[in-house]
């Protein structure tokens, strides 16, 4: 998955550990409110040097790490 490593790095910088042997994880367990969600999106944008389109700014899109990385690839 193209962006997985960078997203895991962003999560670590936010204090959230994704263990190396974990295939997928529910990000909503860690990103629990709107401020955390926006912080996460902004940090991902800075790390990947891209702009996350407004129509994707939906909390459901971080249901899993896998799903979120797929969305990133489609932007």
């Amino acid at each position: 998955m193209k962006y997985r490593d960078q997203v895991v790095q962003v999560l670590e910088e936010m204090g959230i550990l994704i263990e190396s042997d974990e295939y997928d994880v529910n990000l909503q367990d860690f990103i629990v409110d709107s401020i955390q969600f926006i912080t996460f999106i902004v940090n991902v944008e800075e790390k990947l040097n891209l702009t996350f389109p407004d129509e994707y700014l939906n909390y459901d899109n971080i249901e899993t790490l896998h799903k979120f990385c797929e969305i990133l690839e489609n932007i």
Binding site: E12, G15, I16, L17, E19, D29, F30
Partner: protein, 448 residues
């Protein structure tokens, strides 16, 4: 000019003519003070009238005030005790006592556990890590206590969970601390070094007197003695130069051990006497539950004799540290972990308890840890352990130890008190504070 009064939580112990020992139960262990020689008279003068002009800028008075022995006359100390109780109970760190196995290689005569549940499954280990990872940001720190059964019987579980939780805390930038209660039999130097690398720095190992008594009370499954190997392990551990760890040697005294107390304390002096990393913690064997205790009935001394035990130790004056008894003077430790809102005991099968004693007490099991890492608990059951208000009695308002006890340090006592009317809610240490003050080595006191 500010008016002052004497604190209602002061203990003042006269030890002969040349020394006064002071302790303030609200301020806790940091208040410990020794007043020597000519300063004693001055202290009594201050106590007689603490509002004289001459004290206002007096250094000794300012120190006594700082340590809590004199407070402003308007101060409501009972309200301060209530505030402190809230702080203690709502400690913002997460406290997990984990049982990596509930089996044990020992069959101690007074043990209350039935050892029926074995080692923790991989699934439960994963659940613990998931739970901490999801919730660590709601807490200021993570404190892990390894318990059992015998935790070293499941060393691989301890290693797996420790490594992962240390990493979770590192990423979340939260402090991590761990301790272990072990019988010491498998605590070889290699294992000990491995555990230090897993940030397990505090240990409690039980030795019940000399070989003859220890092997009678604390034997292996096959009934063979454990004393020689534990002592060998302790000797090896003490040979390393690391200064980061602390070992509490716990002794559960019976009549037999008390009969040989002088020889036993001399043995302890030789084993770790001058090593400040080790300290002795004196307890009495009691009926902690289970069936095997019945065989020991004629050896039990009775909880009311705790003060006499400490007095016996004081008569012998062993040159060993009793640092571990500082917890009796400090609410932040004296208050049992079961009374803390954010403290949970995780059984090897994922069941969640509040207390590490009496697992069959229905009130003790408050829920379970789900496969997804969610703590599914009955908050009303949790509240029973945390809310000590119903234990408070009229006499507590006037009690000098209340600043430390904070309306009862043991919530299990409260629950039993509700079930069995007339249960004594006062901690036994309350009646032995003067003896404990003498037991605590001088280096833990400030000197005036």
């Amino acid at each position: 000019m500010t008016k002052y009064k004497t604190s209602q939580f002061n203990y003042i112990l006269s030890n002969g003519s040349d020394e006064l020992r002071l302790y303030n139960s609200l301020k806790g262990k940091n208040s410990l003070l020794i007043i020597k020689n000519d300063k004693i008279k001055k202290f009594y003068r201050i106590q007689e009238n603490c509002n004289l002009d001459e004290w206002e800028k007096d250094e000794d008075f300012l120190k006594l005030k700082k340590l809590g022995y004199f407070v402003e006359s308007e101060t409501d100390e009972l309200m301060l005790a209530n505030l402190k109780k809230n702080d203690v109970i709502n400690y913002p760190g997460l406290v997990l006592t984990i049982m990596p196995t509930e089996d044990c290689n020992f069959r101690c005569q007074y043990c209350y556990e039935d050892h029926k549940k074995g080692k923790m499954s991989k699934k439960v280990q994963d659940s613990i890590v998931k739970f901490v990872r999801k919730n660590i940001n709601n807490y200021t720190a993570l404190n892990i206590g390894w318990f059992g059964g015998e935790p070293l019987e499941a060393l691989d579980v301890v290693e797996n969970i420790s490594r992962r939780l240390i990493q979770v805390c590192k990423v979340a930038r939260k402090p991590y601390a761990a301790g272990m209660t072990t019988n010491g039999y498998d605590l070889t130097l290699d294992t000990f070094i491995k555990l230090l690398n897993l940030k397990i720095y505090e240990y409690q190992i039980t030795i019940d007197g000399l070989k003859s008594t220890h092997d009678k009370y604390r034997y292996l499954k096959d009934f063979s003695g454990s004393f020689d190997r534990i002592i060998e392990n302790i000797k090896e551990i003490s040979s390393i130069k690391q200064n980061r760890f602390k070992v509490v040697i716990r002794t559960n005294f019976t009549k037999d051990i008390i009969n040989n107390i002088k020889e036993y304390l001399e043995f302890c002096e030789k084993l770790f006497g001058s090593d400040d990393r080790f300290s002795l913690s004196a307890h009495l064997v009691e009926n902690w539950g289970g069936e095997s205790i019945d065989k020991l009935e004629d050896q039990l001394v009775g909880g009311n004799n705790y003060g006499n035990l400490i007095k016996k130790i004081l008569q012998i004056k062993p040159k060993i540290s009793f640092e571990s008894h500082l917890i009796d003077l400090d609410s932040y430790n004296a208050k049992c972990y079961a009374a803390l809102r954010n403290s949970y005991v995780i059984g090897s099968d994922g069941l969640v308890y509040k207390c590490t004693e009496d697992f069959n007490l229905p009130e003790n099991c408050i829920g379970y840890l789900s496969d997804e890492g969610d703590l599914v608990i009955d908050q009303s059951k949790n509240a029973k352990w945390v809310d000590m208000e119903s234990l408070k009695e009229e006499k507590c308002s006037y009690c000098v130890y209340r600043g430390c006890c904070l309306d009862g340090p043991c919530p299990k006592v409260k629950i039993l008190a509700e079930k069995e009317k007339g249960y004594n809610s006062c901690p036994r240490t309350k009646h032995s504070i003067h003896d404990i003050m003498m037991l605590i080595n001088e280096r833990f006191y400030e000197i005036l």
